[in-house]
């Protein structure tokens, strides 16, 4: 039986689509933990990033976060988060380790892109705004933030896609998500299940990427779209 047939068999199997471990359950697990992690990540770092960007103090912090973020393997973060939560008695079979690790992954791109976005605003524009009598918070809310929006959204997109990708590893720490198919498939040498999981995760990541690009385009202020 070749790989493709195995895949079709797995797809045709009714238990794939029904019951407590159905595809829909896995998809839902995968999505909610990803969305929650991204949102929490944004909420946690956005205010600080706004402040650092606005006061022009964020460049070094942003660079450091980029470099450190790249050097630390996401698998490592997940594993550490898991073992820590196990120590606290909340690890196995719960989504919390995955959630914590994914928050840690979502935060850096949002952080650095928000800072970069605000700092990319032409200083002359900011000076003109101040010169006209906008207060500090008005400059941030009316000038810097709207102009930083494309880069902020880019950061959120990168974060979200990365989170969707890494949520797959959740299966390695005894949690669900679409990664289950891959890990379980490896365990029982079921190529059909492995392929099914790989395709599901791959398509989900691509869908997230493409979908987000469309949102990004929609929220870019028109004046900036013409300029870039």
């Amino acid at each position: 039986m070749n790989v493709l047939e195995q895949l079709i068999d797995f797809i045709m199997d009714p238990s794939t689509w029904t019951g407590p471990a159905s595809f829909w359950t896995r998809l839902f697990e995968h999505l909610w933990v990803s969305v929650a992690a991204t949102l929490i990540g944004i909420v946690l770092v956005f205010p600080l990033a706004l402040y650092l960007g606005h006061t022009k103090r964020g460049s070094q912090a942003a660079t450091a976060v980029v470099n450190v973020g790249r050097a630390v393997p996401s698998f490592g973060i997940l594993a550490v988060a898991f073992l820590i939560l196990v120590e606290f008695g909340a690890g196995v079979g719960t989504p919390w380790a995955v959630l914590v690790a994914l928050i840690a992954l979502a935060a850096p791109p949002v952080f650095t892109n928000t800072i970069a976005g605000i700092q990319s605003v032409d200083p002359a524009t900011v000076e003109a705004a101040r010169g006209m009598g906008l207060t500090g918070s008005q400059v941030l809310a009316r000038i810097e933030l709207p102009m930083a929006m494309p880069l902020v959204m880019e950061g959120i997109r990168i974060a979200f896609v990365q989170v969707i990708a890494t949520a797959t590893l959740g299966a390695l720490v005894a949690w669900g998500g679409l990664g289950r198919y891959i890990i379980d498939g490896f365990a029982v040498r079921d190529n059909g299940q492995i392929l099914f999981g790989a395709l599901a995760v791959g398509l989900l990541a691509i869908a997230a990427e493409v979908g987000f690009s469309l949102i990004q385009r929609a929220v870019t202020p028109r004046g900036l779209r013409v300029a870039r």
Binding site: N67, R70, P73, V92, A198, G202
Partner: protein
């Protein structure tokens, strides 16, 4: 699954490290070779693709689009896609890891060459460089720092991704992470994560130094 609190009070068990030093060296070698082969292979493919892009500009969107698509696929999924065909092997790991470097490398190579100011090229033409000599003597040296920056990002990213290959029986330091995870053994987990970070950092700094060495002109630029 039963929870076994191995050495809760002892995060790093040095005696384990001593006993397993041989294995740590082996895994270091594995981590380095997987990284090295993948980045090197990725660089060769990227240079070829970049040449195609520079010659036929219309090919840039489809080529980077395809590379971007590969880049988006989660690492575990890509391994999983390959395993039914290439098995739990180094080939699987290298194909996946290489494909992740392409997006980063192609974009940096093309951006580096494109980043050479038009007036510099015009001045070179004006002094009588042939298109070929201009490319090798002016454009490539000027683009080199950007290209090395790309190799740097690709390398550091790959070091991190190698850990995931533990699920297909390889992993370099990822092997320790996975084992630590499955046995709830902190020492192994910490050794795996820490060494991976250290390796990434060393390579990162090495490339920063290489970048600086390759572009002595950028150092003296006014701040």
């Amino acid at each position: 699954m039963s929870v076994v609190f191995g050495q809760a009070d002892q995060l790093l068990d040095w005696s384990w490290v001593e006993r397993n030093i041989g294995q740590i060296v082996d895994r270091t070698w594995e981590h380095l070779t997987l990284t090295g082969i993948s980045v090197a292979l990725g660089l060769v493919i990227s240079v070829l693709l970049a040449i195609v892009v520079l010659r036929w500009r219309w090919s840039y969107p489809p080529i980077t689009g395809a590379a971007g698509l590969l880049y988006t696929i989660p690492s575990l999924a890509l391994f999983a896609l390959l395993v039914p065909f290439t098995g739990l092997s180094q080939t699987t790991a290298v194909i996946a890891l290489t494909s992740y470097t392409l997006f980063i490398l192609i974009r940096n190579i093309v951006a580096g060459i494109d980043g050479v100011p038009a007036y510099v090229k015009e001045a070179a033409d004006g002094m009588g460089y042939t298109p070929r000599s201009r490319f090798w003597r002016i454009e490539v040296p000027l683009a080199l720092p950007a290209i090395v920056a790309g190799v740097r990002i690709a390398t550091v990213t790959t070091v991190g991704l190698v850990t995931v290959t533990a699920v297909i029986g390889l992993g370099g330091y990822g092997f320790f992470i996975l084992r630590g995870l499955n046995t709830f053994f902190w020492t192994q987990l910490i050794v795996g994560v820490l060494l991976s970070v250290v390796l990434a950092t060393i390579l990162d700094l090495a490339f920063v130094a290489l970048q600086a060495w390759l572009s002595p002109w950028s150092k003296r630029r006014a701040a």
